[in-house]
Symmetry: C3
Subunit: 230 residues, 3 copies
């Protein structure tokens, strides 16, 4: 089974550890044993935290990855009980047991969502499941946003000699292995899940990384990226 999934995640934080923007949308192709991406694609989105348009960014990176790789099913990070998005009208969605805020979000993005979902479904003939956090593939995409964001922000921190503070996804830790930046899951039972991004510009060598628990948010870790000698 070949699953393409997407998620957006990894926040840029201010000095009080409050999220400013969500940095990255990632799409991954995941196959048995469902522990690492066999292909991946990223966009640096720097989108406002909690914006409903995050889902549209996720559909975009999925479409871009689908153009290069086939799959049997698509997973997106929307928790509608695993329903197939291509079958849901706005009325269907508003009839689901989801929060009023989620309904308002879907109302806002529905016309664009509909168009993107229809195009995906007709071009590739696979279901787009709103499975959300239950999907291991979505989780791997979430970890991938962390690996990509670290490389991108290390590059920026080194270029601008600026200290940057990242809020990693829930239960995620960063490991540097040679020229690869790896995001590993700390969630129990997810010890094998890893997403890795090559640091082609050796940006990580030009910064210092410090990782520690977010004191305001148990289960989440902070990564401080400090320019060397800066």
């Amino acid at each position: 089974m070949r699953i393409i999934a997407a998620d957006s995640g990894t926040a840029l934080l201010d000095k009080a550890y409050r999220p400013k923007v969500v940095l990255t949308a990632a799409a991954v192709l995941v196959e048995e044993p469902f522990t690492q991406p066999t292909a991946q694609h990223f966009r640096l989105i720097e989108e406002e935290y909690g914006k409903p348009t995050l889902l549209l960014h996720e559909l975009q990176v999925i479409a871009e990855l689908c153009a290069r790789h086939s799959c049997d099913v698509i997973h997106v990070d929307a928790s509608l009980g695993g329903a197939a998005l291509e079958t849901l009208s706005l009325v269907d969605i508003l009839g689901l047991r989801i929060t009023p805020q989620a309904k308002q979000a879907f109302r806002t993005i529905y016309p664009k969502l509909r168009k993107m979902v229809d195009r995906l479904y007709h071009q590739h003939g696979v279901s787009i499941l709103a499975i959300g956090k239950d999907s291991v593939a979505v989780r791997i995409a979430e970890l991938a946003t962390a690996a990509y964001s670290v490389v991108a922000m290390a590059t920026r921190a080194a270029a601008k000699a600026e200290l940057l503070i990242l809020g990693l996804p829930r239960m995620c830790t960063i490991q540097v292995q040679g020229s690869a930046v790896r995001a590993a899951s700390l969630e129990p039972g997810e010890h094998e899940l890893i997403a890795s991004v090559e640091d082609r510009g050796n940006a990580v060598e030009r910064v210092r990384l410090r990782e520690f628990p977010n004191p305001f948010l148990r289960g989440y870790r902070i990564l401080v990226i400090e320019p060397q000698g800066g």
Copy 2:
């Protein structure tokens, strides 16, 4: 303190990883330090998933284990806040804050449940607590269903030269140690919990086991049992 507890669990899955049946009911006797069974008893039930009669199977294996071992209290996998089942009328149960589906389930099975609970209580004089997932003893019974199911399905896969796919209980992994099949907990804080079943027929040697995360259900793992050379 000697606790006898039961659970039913471990699913047979189809190729799309959807559950077909629940395979096993297990009863265990657990004593301090409450990490492994000191006695256990199994039935291969192959019961429809989510059926209310699962609780009746659990009471049956409990009764069978109680016939051979004494205990101070019985734990069953029904979440009624730890209430003693022998004291609850159907009206009491329907008055509890449980889901409408759970109420309907109890309505269906109550006459048989009542009979089994009364017999257990009168024969052994110990309370039957509806403590559910809070009980470590119920958790050990759940792990035991996995160890037993692996031996039973490896036997079947080898005999029928058929590939079988198991859905393990939440946060559970299988380890083969000599002739023992062990189910260990991956839940944090449960590193010591283990249930083990002897593979007397050496069935596991005649199959290949592959275990990986269920991509549709975070926290759950899949075990593929493939006949050797098959």
Copy 3:
């Protein structure tokens, strides 16, 4: 960032593992990397389980630690969404989405709470955030209650030749390292969190410690303290 936080915890249990009293209130000073206290202060409170006055004990140990150490913010174990207690009237609190029991608790303690919060806020000029279990600093205080309770109860068990049973905080384990009693977190992603108390009277050497899962409450562990030769 310097955070002072408090929690009360660690129960004395009866032989059926039911909580009798909450033993300890702990205040801790935590600084980056937010994994261990850099200062701490304790009171043995032996307060009834679930009593609303626990929060007052926590404010007291906070006030006592604040008298010796400066901080930028105070975290208390009350889950009011991180609101600043110094800005909340009783009417504000009763308007929040909290349980009726929590409202009744705040009604009971509000006059004393108000006085203690005002004094803290005016003396130290820092916010007292009702952040509750989301705070890593509150979690470290919770672990600290365990380390302190073990030393205190080992002392009592040795002095009175009495067996004592402790209910440790959720996902907490005790390690003895030389003359230090350490409470470590078993929560995923909290592998670095440790609180440690010196056992100055060598009480732990005069008792036997046995730790195992609480069979009635998954995720919690029991520590039996038995006088040596007793």
